[in-house]
Every structure is written in C-alpha cells, then in structure tokens.
Symmetry: C2
Subunit: 222 residues, 2 copies
C-alpha cells in the first residue's frame, strides 16, 4: 500500500479552498493572494494600496507569518481590519488557516480581502486558498532570473508586481529581461513595474486592481 501524502494534503486543501471561494463569492468580496520571497515588499505594497483605495473600497487583510505580528500591526495603522495568522514554522498559508481567519473578518462589509502569504517563492504557489487572483511580487534586487528558477508561481499568477525599481541603477538586474522571462512563462500575466518607496508606477496597479475587483464582482451570479 502506498500512501500518497502530498496528493491527499492537496485534495483536502482544495476542498476547503472551494468553501472559502464560495464564501468570498457570496459576499462579492474579491480575494487577492500576495506571494513573494521574503522582503520583496508585499507589506509595503499593501500599505500603499490601502492608502490609495480605502476611500472608495472597503478593504480587509489576512496576514500570514511564521512568527511575529509585525505586519498586521503595520496594516492596522492604516485603519483597516487585519487578522494575523502565525503558521508556527509552516512555510505557506493553507485554505484551512484562511477559513479560520475569515471567521474574524466581516466579509459582508468588505469589497477586497488581501491575503499576504508567508515570504516564500515556492510552497505558497502550490496551495489554493480560495482566492480570486494570485499576485506575484518580486524585487529587482533579487535578480532577473527568478521567474525561470521559480516558475510555478509565475504560471499560477494573474499579475506580477515588479517592485523596488528605484534600485535599478544600483543592481545588475535587467528589467526588460525580468519582464520578458516572466511573460515567457505566462504570457497572460499583467506586469506592473513599481517602487513602493517612491510611488512610481503604482497608479496603474491601483487601477488594474480596482477594475479587476469590479469586473469579478459583476461576473458573480447571485
């Protein structure tokens, strides 16, 4: 007898992810799963995005971390509800953790829920959380070969936010090569080139996000 642990774990996860997806849909709440390496700037992107959009959209955040609640504290300073999940060593969020966090968020009153995954370019790409869109965030400081070396996330993602473009003059990263490599893996990717530090390029991202949330909500049949 062979026990297919990996397959069973993913099947159990997918069943709960489907329930989460139904919960998000029933409240017309657009769920975004942000995935990146540690330190690519997911939290900074969230802070900027909240400041830009919270006047016209009602936002909530689920923060995933192995330890600490530093990120949830950063988010709450912007007046947005944030639920912290500590995975206690776990290298990714799974659908069950998110289902528990959803109980602490008033979904009915939210237009968009951001789920900030554990900083890890590998494992989070494999676990469906019930989100409407997976977004890859990558920093130019990581180098332009990363989509080739970590292809699964870029295949699964709807968009990639290339962050820290203000560092381009001081690194060997070739921005065009980074963008083309990501698109060679997934030609449907929306690509945004931004600096969360200077604000450059973020307007296009805000617009795409708000448009995507609206289009998704209007596609839901009640």
């Amino acid at each position: 007898m062979e026990i297919k642990v990996g397959t069973n774990i993913l099947a159990a996860n997918d069943a709960i992810a489907a329930e989460n997806r139904e919960a998000f849909a029933s409240h017309r709440c657009f769920a975004v799963n942000l995935v990146s390496s540690p330190g690519a700037g997911k939290t900074a992107l969230l802070e900027r995005t909240i400041e830009a959009l919270h006047a016209r959209l009602s936002l909530g955040v689920i923060e995933g971390d192995i330890a600490t609640s530093l990120d949830a504290e950063r988010i709450r300073r912007h007046g947005v509800p944030a639920v912290q999940i500590n995975t206690g060593g776990g290298c990714h969020l799974d659908a069950y953790m998110v289902s528990r966090a959803l109980a602490a968020l008033a979904l009915a009153s939210l237009d968009v829920v951001f789920i900030e995954n554990v900083g890890n370019l590998v494992c989070p790409a494999e676990f469906d959380l019930g989100e409407a869109a997976k977004i890859a965030v990558i920093s130019v400081a990581e180098g332009d070969d990363k989509p080739l070396k970590y292809p699964v996330l870029f295949r699964e993602a709807r968009a990639v936010v290339i962050n820290k473009i203000d560092l381009l003059p001081y690194t060997d990263c070739d921005l065009a090569r980074l963008r083309d490599t990501a698109l060679s893996i997934n030609p449907a990717l929306a690509v945004f080139e931004v600096s969360c530090r200077t604000g450059e390029g973020l307007e296009t991202w805000y617009r795409w996000l708000a448009d995507s949330a609206r289009e998704w909500a209007s596609s839901i049949t009640p």
Copy 2:
C-alpha cells in the same frame, strides 16, 4: 492510529544526513550549506569565494534548484566541479539528494564542498544535509526585520553573511538593527557585512571560512 508524517520524514532524512556527515569526515572535507531567500546572492558569494580561495583550497559545489542549471553553469566557469540537483518543484534539498550528488564528486580530493540550497528562508532550515556548518545569507534589500520573522534558520546557522551593503544608502534597512536582531536570536552567530558586487567586507569572510575549515579538519579523529 496517528501517522506522524513530519516526524518520520525528518527521522529518515537525519539517518541519511548522518551517513553524509561520515562521508565528509572520512575525507576531511568541510561541508557548508548556504541558505537564503531567492536572490540574496548565494551564487554571487560562491563565485567570489571560489575566486579568492581556489588557489589554496580544493573546492566543489552542489547546486540545488527547483528548475534550471543556471547556477551550476555560473560556478563551472570558475573551473570548479559543480553538480546540479533539480528538486523538480521541491522547496529544499534533503540529505538523500545530497547523498546522490556526492557520488558524482571526488570527495577525497576536496577540502571544502559548498551546498547551495534552494532559495527559501523557511524549509531548508529544517533539513540536515550532513553539513559541518549552515550559513545564512541575507540581502539588506530584504529589510532588517527578517531574522525575527524567519527565526529557525538564524538559530541553526553558524554564520550570517549580510550581502548587498552597497545598497544601504538606497534602502530603509538599518544594518545595526539587522545585525542585532540576528544576534538576539543566536548570540553565537559570526556576522559578515559584505557586498559581492563591490567586494567590500569579503576578506573577513574568506578568512573565517578557511580558518573554520582547517579547525574542523584538525578536530576529526582518524
């Protein structure tokens, strides 16, 4: 009945890691396991270290990646034997993969074997490969809170190489805070502040590495 999958996997891994450790010891070959986020600069650090040390030490490299053999090709250009392991989606190297790679390296003729793990700050920290020392590499572009958020690696490591200090003027990273946070988790850490781009700070790292290899080899009882 409860199947403790995690425990069993780690026990099986530890048994093979012990065999690897014995193989390294029998050849007085110092094994170094490099762990970092994607893009922190492990391969660049290896390239610099090889250039600095290969005249006086015989070096070999095991390259771990999910996909591609880009890094092994970079290493071979420096005239050093490099074995590529592709994990095929796996988020870390394990002791079995390393044992297979060892068969392709002439350990008896090597003083130091570097094992470059998959770019991941989480999972590789949990898997013993049979190395003599685990080295954490972190880039200042990742921010100064990373040791707090990913503590396991910093607890397990013998040293941390803080890379890309040439980017400090252009980031919000507080170098002293990064160093102190790492040391608060593991006061025994050797800390190196370097730039693999400019070469700054690397001499101290080379010296520490060569000294550590020599001390370790002389501590082995035949």
